[in-house]
Amino acid sequence: MADTAIPAKEPFRLSMLIYDRRYRSLTFQVIVFILVMAFGWWLVSNTVRNLEVLGKDFKFDFLSQRAGYDIPQPPIPYTADDTHLRAAVVGVLNTLIITVLGCVAATVLGVIVGVARLSNNWLFARLMTVYVEAFRNVPLLLWILVVFSVFREILPPPNAFRGEDPAASMILFDNVALTNRYTAIPTLGMTNDPGSLDLGWRVTISWAAIAFIVVLIGGWLVHKAIVKWAQATQDQTGQRPTTWWMSLIVMVLPSLLLIWYFGLHMIPPELKGFNFTGGLNISNALVALWLALTLYTAAFIAEIVRAGILAISKGQSEAAFALGISPRRTMNLVILPQALRVIVPPLISQYLNLMKNSSLAIAVGFMELKGTLGGTTLNQTGRELESILLMMGIYLILSLIISSGMNLFNARVKLKER
């Protein structure tokens, strides 16, 4: 009769799954998990079945077929005879170009506006408030269309530049023509062209460009060494040697020599036939998209910057002022570096937004990823599901790259606790 002393273990009843606190949370998680999986299974099987009913298969071989359509101003050589895959790559590159251009410009503008909103100048600060509110509260698509139609309606068509007495004339010593299609700017030509390096995939890079990059980087490294040497000399002797002329020589002279060696000169655009040729035509679609994305995202970045600055205790700037540091240097040396750790995390989201928002480019005919793979390719091949999945995958990868890069940066600027 000894075992009667041990309290009988309460037998498990089914109702305990709901009424017993020990099991309840687990029960619900299992139910929700099953429901989610069932929904996922239903979605997939439904899609597969419906595709079967429509007689469509799920294949990506359309990517290797001839695209047959042209893309204005592709960043890498592309013709209608290339494959859909290459067209998609052109789209991705265009997306990257607009993203990089947009992020750089939006950051610069956003920081300026964010700081300006806190300015003591009442009018200036209010003007910036108006700008921020106007851009934050109107959909981006409208801004893109507005900027684009302003370009289209206000600027003259290329044939207005023709004739003895043209209705429009080029600016900057006849070097730049603003038209309602593109901005024609001069390109650089070389009398002594060293040819170009073939990177494969019909992508080439000019040897001259490589030479300039090497010389610039080398010059900068030498400049750093000179500064280091100057510092060491100063530490040893207390006398800092004058180095600015040395830096100037190593930074500028090699480039000048290269310019002379290659015979670099400008080729101004010229109106021939229907359009300007000879120079580089930067399409209004790109500029309008870039401008609209920049102005729109900068408004958000401005708010982030303002929040970051306001997060820094006023005592910091008061201490800086007490030391006699000028307001501008206080901002650059004391406030902004500390504000960065508040600013950077939300800034990552803005960069991601900008990249994703670039898919609105199709509204102005700029052929980025949504325009090529998700637009014409999808339409010509009828591979909606494959194209959309591929596009989602590419955007996801790009987003992850941007956010991990920015997270690395964040790790560098955030408050170091030692």
């Binding site: 429901l35 239903w42 439904n46 079945r49 419906n50 009913v53 429509l54 007689g55 469509k56 047959g68 359509y69 042209d70 893309i71 204005p72 101003q73 013709t79 209608a80 005879d81 289209r152 309606e153 003259p156 068509p157 044939n159 309602n180 299609r181 021939k272 036939g273 229907f274 359009n275 040729t277 035509n281 209004n284 199709i362 509204a363 005919g365 052929m367 325009g371 637009g375 014409t376 999808l378 339409n379 010509q380 091949t381 009828g382 909606e384």
Partner: protein, 338 residues
């Protein structure tokens, strides 16, 4: 909670079944309305007027099908589709029939799993330029900027044509005819290219149509016609023979004016079969005997529809040309009603 799950399962099952099944006729009848995919706005072919009523050459196909199937030409829901969205709209079941300027091509017929019911307009791609440009032939367009609707056959033809003639061009990609019109009018492109009928329709809407010319070169064949999903053969038959009924009616001189009289008095056996007074053809496609009669009554026979929307008496002013009856030297040829 049990009840919710049960209802959810039932709803899911119904949805799956509904999408899997391919009986468009039953769906349309149950809905009491025909979903017709049309152009977002191309005067003469499909465009809403000031009161929001859709009119045009393609719209009348929708009306004829609705009249044949539902007995009322007004029971149509017009779904505007762009060059980009049209086939997805059809494949996904958003529309029952696509009556839009869509070219019948091999890959669309096979790979895209569409069925073209027939051709209601034989077209070809052309170029429109402003008169002051001084261009008289498409061969002179080397280096030009060309506005082109993305996702269309015209986009591919354009690339092929310039390549074949060893010329270059800069495309300006646009999404709809309205946008193309804006760009072209602002001079953002030198030439606008699309089907010649579309160019004529677009030009007709200009304030100064006389200042724009359509170049003589026709660079492609663009047979335009209504399309349905592949796999529902009976529905395909209904749309096909509704179109043929309109064409045959013109051939036999059956018009919306004399149709009542002819259905009583005509001694022509083929007209009798067409109008359902003998041999119940309608029953063979799941409709009643007078389906074709209603279709013709909706907006007249093919010739009447052509004349009312895009013919020479309209601002669009298209000649019948290839689209005349085969008896008049054209290509319009309805298969026999027997």
């Amino acid at each position: 909670m049990k009840k919710t799950i049960f209802l959810g399962t039932v709803a899911a099952a119904t949805l799956t079944a509904g999408m899997g099944m391919a009986d468009t006729l039953a769906d349309v009848k149950a809905r009491g309305e025909l979903n017709c995919g049309v152009n977002t706005g191309l005067v003469g072919f499909a465009a809403p007027d000031a009161n929001g009523n859709w009119t045009g050459f393609d719209i009348d196909v929708c009306k004829a099908v609705a009249a044949a199937v539902l007995g009322d030409p007004s029971k149509v829901k017009y779904v505007p589709t762009t060059g980009q969205t049209r086939f997805t709209a059809l494949a996904s079941g958003e529309v029952d029939v696509l009556a839009r300027n869509s070219t019948w091509t091999f890959s669309r017929d096979t790979d895209l799993k569409l069925d073209f019911a027939g051709v209601n307009y034989y077209d070809g791609q052309g170029f429109m330029v402003s008169k002051d440009l001084g261009v008289t032939s498409a061969k002179e367009l080397d280096g030009a900027t060309v506005c082109i609707q993305t996702g269309t056959t015209t986009e591919l033809n354009l690339a092929d044509y310039f390549k074949a003639n060893n010329m270059t061009y800069t495309p300006v990609n646009i999404d709809s005819n309205a946008e193309g019109e804006q760009q072209y009018m602002a001079g953002a492109c030198d030439a606008y290219t699309t089907d010649a009928s579309g160019l004529a329709a677009t030009r007709a809407a200009f304030a100064d149509p006389e200042n724009h010319i359509i170049l003589p070169e026709i660079i492609s064949k663009e047979p335009l016609g209504p399309a349905v999903r592949h796999g529902d053969n009976n529905w395909g038959d209904i749309v096909r023979w509704t179109l043929y009924a309109l064409i045959a009616a013109e051939e036999y001189g059956v018009t919306s004016k004399n149709i009542e009289e002819l259905s009583k008095s005509s001694q022509n056996p083929e007209v009798q079969r067409l109008l359902g007074t003998s041999d119940d053809l309608g029953a063979m496609i799941g409709l009643d005997a007078e389906w074709a009669k209603r279709a013709i009554l909706a907006s007249g026979n093919y010739g009447e529809i052509f004349a009312a929307n895009i013919g020479e008496q309209t601002p669009i002013g298209l000649a019948r040309g290839l689209n005349a009856q085969w008896t008049q030297g054209g290509l319009m040829y309805a298969m026999p009603f027997r």
